[in-house]
């Protein structure tokens, strides 16, 4: 009969109206600034620079190769390469970025910088509260603001960070083994060469 559906609908909304006062699970709204839900592990918002050890400046993994700068589709990354080399966390002399700026207002969170980085130096953060009242200085994050410790990385993306650490450790041991072989062979060569030219 005409009007039946309207009555059914009215009953439904009345049930919602009364029910929302009685049962708390009907109201699924998270009242944001006071209430928060923990960030999902897969959440990716804005890139940050990983550093190892306690000192952010000495421990930055970034070697200023500028691949991310070139690959960035909206060109929000600006890097200045150092003139000198400095030992990185592995003790190898490397270039380092004297400037590393990312513009928040330009970044589109595509994660391409993370994909292309050969040094596992840039990763995605889960922090989304990036708004600021200073639209010129506040939106340009420099390398100090971008630097986050490896522990922080473990905290926000535990699975991925463990993989990255395992890969880096494997690379390092391979490099160490190679270095050891090289030094041993050099030593052996030197030892073999000494008697020949000993007189």
């Amino acid at each position: 009969m005409l009007g039946e559906g309207i009555l059914k609908g009215l009953a439904e909304t009345a049930r919602n109206f009364a029910g929302s006062f009685v049962s708390a699970e009907r109201l699924t709204t998270v009242q944001y600034p006071e209430q928060r839900i923990p960030a999902f592990e897969a959440a990716r918002v804005f890139p940050f620079l990983v550093y190892d050890g306690g000192d952010w400046e000495a421990g930055l993994r970034c070697v200023a190769c500028q691949i991310c700068e070139k690959e960035c589709p909206p060109k929000c990354i600006f890097i200045e390469k150092s003139k000198d080399k400095k030992p990185d966390a592995m003790g190898k002399a490397q270039f380092y970025p004297t400037r590393f700026d990312i513009d928040v207002s330009v970044c589109m969170s595509c994660q391409i910088c993370v994909e292309v980085c050969p040094f596992e130096a840039i990763k995605m953060d889960t922090d989304f509260e990036l708004s600021t009242d200073d639209r010129f200085g506040g939106l340009l994050h420099d390398r100090k603001q971008l630097a986050r410790s490896n522990e922080y990385y473990h905290q926000i993306h535990p699975t991925e960070a463990a993989e990255v650490d395992a890969r880096l450790a494997a690379e390092r041991s391979k490099a160490d083994a190679k270095a050891r072989v090289a030094t041993e062979s050099a030593a052996a060569k030197a030892a073999a060469a000494r008697p020949a030219g000993g007189d």
């Binding site: 009969m1 005409l2 009007g3 309207i6 609908g9 009215l10 439904e12 909304t13 009345a14 919602n16 109206f17 029910g19 929302s20 006062f21 009907r26 109201l27 699924t28 709204t29 009242q31």
Partner: protein, 391 residues
């Protein structure tokens, strides 16, 4: 004591007016009434908007506004400040004078309707013999303001919204009028005061409101449908149609002019609820004779607010109609039903006081409702439209 409470506003007005010189007293009394109406209804509007937003939220299982002040009760103040401080933009190619006048005409027309509504015992601003006629005459001029707004904006969305609004309001004006004519026929008067007095009798403690008669119930339902369409409320909010027309006829309005349209819409809702209360729900009379101690104005405003709640409830429940459904529903269902209702009201008058008239009138109305509903659904006048190409 109860007598004083019932008449407290009337006595207050008399006391205030008594300070004026005798020649000015009549004019002063009317002016005082106008000021009271102009103060009370916008306040009620602010409150209703808040309650509507909270109520709609609850119907959709969310909180609604709860940030400004405790439980969000200061939200209306924030909204008022916002709309007052916003820039008032008038499009360059708009007809500036008409563009400015449209919201003013709307608000003035809408407020004038309250002049003839009895809001309590002896609480009517102008006790006109043809009050109902005055109400409908004034109510029809809101269409003018809507079209002024749509036409002067020089915007295709505005114009489309205004055309829709005028088509809709004129279509539903007819059933709105005809459903109230039944009340006029039974009461034998066009005066809202007399209509309320005719309903203010009790048998075994139950009131003689017109809604408790077959023709009155049918008339009230038709009136409610037509009133919803007349005030452009959901599900008949095609003139605004956010999803297709931006904001309909007030697309090009901002700041305080927009607030005036908003106010006009809600005050029209109050006024039409007040009229429905007066015609069918016994106006200011109490729902049971033992509740007669409560002041009459309390009953009028309670009934009005209950009607407003039903408006909000409808808005939370129903999706928007399509234009052809809207027109078919007005001309092929509501209009014939109101015409039949006129006939039934006549029968009711001439069938005497027995039980027979209850049976005869109810049977006619129910049968007509069932048949017309069935036929309309079968012919897809108001039901969902089936698309041939999709089958």
């Amino acid at each position: 004591m109860f007598e004083t409470l019932d008449q407290i506003f009337v006595l207050l007005a008399h006391w205030l007016v008594s300070f004026l010189p005798a020649a000015w007293q009549a004019a002063g009394g009317v002016l005082l009434g106008v000021v009271a109406i102009v103060l009370v209804f916008p306040t009620l509007f602010a409150l209703t908007v808040l309650l509507e937003r909270k109520g709609l939220g609850r119907m959709q299982n969310r909180y609604g506004p709860n940030r400004v002040g405790p439980y969000g009760i200061l939200q209306p103040i924030a909204d008022a400040v916002k709309s007052l401080t916003k820039e008032d933009v008038v499009p360059l190619s708009a007809d500036a004078a008409v563009h400015f006048l449209a919201p003013v005409v709307l608000v003035v027309a809408v407020f004038m309707g309250f002049a003839v509504l009895p809001m309590g015992r002896n609480m009517v601003l102008v006790n006109m013999d043809a009050g109902l006629l005055f109400y409908f005459a004034i109510g029809a001029s809101t269409e003018l303001s809507v079209f002024m707004a749509g036409w002067s904006s020089r915007n295709k969305y505005s114009l489309l919204g205004a055309m829709r609004a005028v088509a809709q309001m004129i279509s539903y004006e007819v059933p709105l009028l005809l459903s109230s004519v039944a009340v006029v026929m039974i009461t034998g008067s066009l005066s809202p005061v007399k209509i309320v007095e005719a309903q203010n009798h009790y048998t075994w403690g139950l009131p003689h409101w017109y809604i408790f008669t077959p023709w009155g119930l049918a008339g009230f339902l038709m009136f409610a449908i037509a009133a919803t369409a007349e005030t452009n409320r959901s599900p008949f909010d095609l003139p605004e149609g956010e999803s297709e027309l931006v904001a309909g006829y007030f697309t090009e309005y901002s700041g305080f002019k927009f607030a005036l349209f908003f106010l006009g819409e809600y005050v029209a809702m109050f006024s039409v609820s007040g009229l429905g209360t007066t015609l069918f729900l016994g106006g200011w009379s109490a729902p049971f004779s033992f509740l007669n101690w409560a002041p009459s104005w309390f009953w009028f405003f309670s009934k009005m607010m209950v009607s407003i709640f039903v408006f909000i409830w409808m808005r939370g429940t129903l999706p928007r109609l399509r234009q052809d459904q809207l027109m078919n529903f007005a001309w092929k269902f509501v209009l014939p039903m109101t015409l039949l209702n006129l006939f039934v009201a006549g029968l009711w008058r001439f069938l005497g006081d027995g039980w027979q008239r209850w049976v005869v009138c109810s049977a006619i109305l129910l049968a007509a409702y069932a048949v017309m509903g069935r036929v309309g659904m079968y012919r897809e006048h108001f039901g969902p439209r089936r698309y041939r190409y999709a089958e």
